[in-house]
Amino acid sequence: MKKLSIPQLGYYAYAFKTVGEELGFEIVVYPTNKETMGLGAKYSPEGVCVPFKMIMGNYAQALQKGATDCFFIGGYGACRQFCYSHLYQLLFKKEWPDASFHILYRENFKKVLETLAGEKLTYGQILKAALKTIYKVWLVERIEDWSWWYRPREKHKGETTRVIQECFKLMEKGKGNFFTYRRKFKNIKISDIKPIKIGVVGEIYLLIEPGVNCELDRLLGESNAYIHKYIRFLMEVLRMLHLDRFTLRSDHTTHKLAEPYLKVSVGGHGRSSVGDMVRYAKKGYDGVVHLLPFACLPEISARPLLKKISQEYDLPLLTLSFDEMTNISQIENRVEAFCEMIKMRKAKQGFLKKTNSMSIKQVF
């Protein structure tokens, strides 16, 4: 049986494991951590962006664990990502000539899956595996949703984090379903705090990989912030299939919202960052956090425009740029200060509203 190493997209790796189980090969799941960063930075060129280095680190770790095959998707778009797979191929020839590297395109995905499985596959099998994986991905996203809701409201700090870990341990073993996970979350005791609302925009890899973004979800949640993200894996799948027009957040509306600031695409998620920030501003969120890898081409182009939106809508903005040297305490400090600032601001605004609405008789 072949062992396949994949880019570990945060918790989604637990869901992707299902593809291997269905089609007859093993997928190595190994959470991204400090060690991954070190290995990735060691094997990749210095100037490339953080996602490249981290995925390289994932491959290196998996190969140490005995993986034989690696794969990456061939991309399309103005972001550097379209070139990733070919640079990986070049570097693999130098570092690990024994390991075979597959590039997955729309034209050849069946061939690649057949070489991995070692037997002929029918489209029915592939479709069944894909649907099962999508169900698991949906579950992962629901777990994240609940964690965002429960974490700012929890009575005992750290309880939600514990529950999430329990859930994913069950999922890795292949046990549990929607209702077992839901029951686990319902057992968390909550207090009646009104959390602040924060939207998170930025580059997709940093949004969904807690090992690289220093567990930003946890940091924000523990400072009593309910967070929301538009860019997630299932949403991207829908966008790829052009089904996003049936959802509340279609590309068309995003582009329309971004129009006054950014008229064209800047590749990657640059345009949707701008559009989503306007959307958050219109929905009455209290603040926006923008995540980007160091020197990310699309997000660097979008950042001055986000600053402009922040001024125009009077919406606080925190931009965090990550590279392999980023430390958790550095991010923690900035996030905590940002949340405190928003709370102070809200309290002040509430006070002003109260005094304005009171009549003179009530004051004296």
């Binding site: 100037g47 103005a78 550097r80 640079l87 395109y105 008229k263 800047v266 081409l297 660097i300 182009s301």
Partner: protein, 306 residues
């Protein structure tokens, strides 16, 4: 009407085209000077701190032009060849400059890849669009367009002549690999061409090598999709047997170059030609570069002597 053209970024590639076209339309053209310390400082103050040096300089140029002209011409360089595209920083530059309060007039160069429209004679279409945006009649802009394209072609022919002359020299030939805006801006490359010529080398800038784009149809040999990347890769591949050394100029935090350097150095390794990568940013001192060039040339000569 006064229109300013910044002497920075990709506009440098088609400088002759834009200036002749606007002059023939009887529009007053103000060309920003070669980058000075003042312009660089202005750019550094306004631009994003993680942006690359050429973009910072371009923002400095546009801010210098801001008070002197009615509008600044910043073309959006989407793509120069079919199914290829440029750096995303070129696409968003007009929007970024407008957020800094610079009045811009933009025109799409190539196509927007999302809409899927492909221009066949892209430069002609681009110039006609620009003429329409400036409120000129079709006949006037068509005449100006023809003269502008002729001037640009003459300029390119001159470069080719120079290239043939350079190849016949009996000196050591060094290939300088980079983008146009790094090769011709002394504020970025600190006069590296002069330094090499002082030490008795014939310097061949990579964009002097003639190149004709051939559209590719198979996915497998269609992996390099930056227009400048394709041109650079093919040109280096063409000339690698005829040169003694390759020097690549990159700037700090340049996205495409972080990938391109690896591919160019791979070609050089396969052909066994010495390769050096020089990284520049706003703090680079010319002494450091001089040292490295001397060491590189020394090692080249030692290699020959052996």
């Amino acid at each position: 009407m006064k229109i300013g053209i910044p002497r920075a970024l990709v506009t440098l590639k088609h400088l002759k085209l834009w200036t002749t076209f606007l002059e023939k339309l009887k529009v007053e053209v103000v060309l920003s000077p070669v980058t000075t310390r003042e312009i660089l400082d202005q750019g550094l103050r306004y631009a994003e701190d993680e942006a690359c040096l050429p973009v910072k300089i371009a923002i400095g140029h546009a801010l210098w032009l801001k008070d002197k002209v009615d509008k600044v011409l910043i073309p959006r360089y989407f793509s120069l060849y079919k199914n290829e595209w440029g750096c995303p920083k070129f696409f968003g530059l007009p929007d970024i400059l407008e957020s800094y309060g610079v009045p811009c007039v933009t025109v799409m160069v190539g196509r927007e890849y999302e809409s899927g429209i492909v221009f066949v004679n892209y430069l002609e279409r681009v110039l006609m669009d620009l003429g329409e945006k400036l409120g000129k009649s079709n006949e006037v802009s068509e005449q100006a367009m023809k003269q502008a394209i002729k001037a640009q072609k003459e300029h390119e022919g001159e470069m080719e002549k120079n290239y043939q002359k350079l190849l016949s020299f009996k000196k050591e030939k060094i290939l300088l690999v980079s983008h146009e805006y790094n090769l011709y801006d002394p504020a970025i490359n600190l006069g590296i061409t002069g330094m090499l010529e002082e030490r008795d080398c014939a310097v061949i800038p990579v964009d002097w090598i003639p190149f004709k784009f051939q559209p590719r149809h198979s996915r497998w040999d269609w992996w390099m999709r930056w227009d400048f990347g394709t041109a650079m890769y093919e040109r280096v591949k063409k000339l690698i047997k005829k040169v003694e050394g390759v020097i690549q100029i990159t700037t700090f935090a340049c996205g495409p170059d972080s990938f391109l350097c690896e591919f160019v150095s791979d070609i050089c390794n396969n052909a066994e030609v010495p390769y050096m990568k020089l990284m520049f940013d706003e703090h680079t001192a010319s002494e450091r570069i001089r040292n490295r060039i001397e060491a590189f040339l020394e090692s080249l000569r030692m290699r020959k002597w052996k």
